[in-house]
Symmetry: C2
DNA sequence: TGACTATACGGAGACTGTCTCCGGTTAATC
DNA sequence: GATTAACCGGAGACAGTCTCCGTATAGTCA
């Protein structure tokens, strides 16, 4: 386990006082337990169950993570890095624009469905600066921006395309996939429509 | 109040025995109360609260509506008709294909967001025949089919377009609108991308 | 090493919402 | 007016959220 303190590797505005050893231990156990429970029960899994599985009292859980979203935020700590990496990879890949887009969108959907209910939470937080996971959404948004802007500059997309609308649309697809219990592969037809909707009309499939 | 028995005006496979007068009265009061509570509190509003507001015991509620979805199904009884009507109107409207699509899609989003959480429920039920509101989704699907098929026949859309993918995609948009608390108008940019993704490449905006 | 204190723990329990069970009531029928 | 099948409603079991506060302990300094 990586033993990560809150807000470490974060944009780091406020300096965080290091946790006491036992507190750090419990923090890590809670995040691990949460990952487990959310994976099997979805984002609505019981918080007391998480505390129990981590071997701590409910009070401890709520002290570390006042709300459910704070906990979700914590277990997405490294998730951000993966999203950014994928967006870089998409930009640099040596394939046609359509292919770049499709890969990136599929990645996006995968990331947004890391557990049941995650996509919905992310969609909701995307326009809500007060949400603890708002920053995660900004990362998503920025990553998508990178890919879309790059493709606009390559003249592959209509220049009227607004990246934010695109990320919203794809997060809609992710939500549907999540809610309806579809496989990521089944998202491809929808994603292709989106792709057709933003590329310049020339190389039509 | 219309005093409607379950499954009336429905595809009517099973014949339903009429309810006793008091039962019918309570049924109607429950539906009305549910409409109120869902409207102000969203699809997760308390069921006991609905029972209380209808002036009946919780037992009565659960006898009439074993699950939350059964209740939602009931209060959407006339909703179906409006959806169908809108799809007809879209087909018959004397406007360009893009305009037809945009109107229809906006209608679709409106219908799917009749109360908070509704869009998510509908998206989830769309591929789940076991859901009490599955039939409602079929209606949605059929209505969308009507519009899309008509436009394919008019040669306005690429013929590779699959109506079911389109309705999924738009329900994704509706879910985002719902979750993020957006206005229906803010869905237009997303819907236009979808439209660009399915019309034949000729009359580009 | 021992004592001190800020920090953290944990579980009892208040609260809210879901859902069931069953003794009591009432509408319909003859 | 008596009979009975259908229906009512609320007490209460159960599960999840979240708080409060007495107790424990890690870190620190002499």
């Amino acid at each position: 386990m990586a033993s990560i303190t809150p807000a470490e590797a974060e944009v780091s505005e406020e300096v965080v006082k290091p946790l006491r050893a036992d507190a750090q231990r419990n923090y890590d156990k809670l995040v691990a337990a949460a990952r487990e429970v959310f994976a099997e029960r979805g984002a609505e899994g019981s918080l007391d169950e998480i505390a129990k599985r981590a071997g701590v009292g409910p009070g401890t859980l709520y002290r570390h993570f006042p709300t459910r979203d704070d906990l979700i935020d914590a277990l997405m700590r490294d998730w951000t890095d993966r999203v950014v990496a994928d967006s870089m990879a998409a930009v640099e890949a040596d394939v046609p624009a359509r292919e770049k887009l499709e890969r990136w969108f599929v990645d996006l959907v995968k990331h947004m469905t890391l557990h049941r209910g995650a996509a919905a939470k992310l969609s909701a937080a995307m326009d809500d600066p007060a949400s603890p996971i708002y920053r995660k959404c900004q990362m998503l948004n920025d990553a998508n921006d990178r890919v879309i802007t790059h493709l606009i500059e390559t003249d592959a997309l209509r220049d009227s395309v607004e990246p934010h609308q695109v990320v919203r649309l794809v997060s809609g697809v992710a939500t549907v996939v999540d809610q309806a219990g579809l496989d990521v592969e089944q998202a491809r037809p929808m994603l292709r429509i989106v792709i057709d909707g933003i590329v310049r009309d020339s190389a039509t499939s």
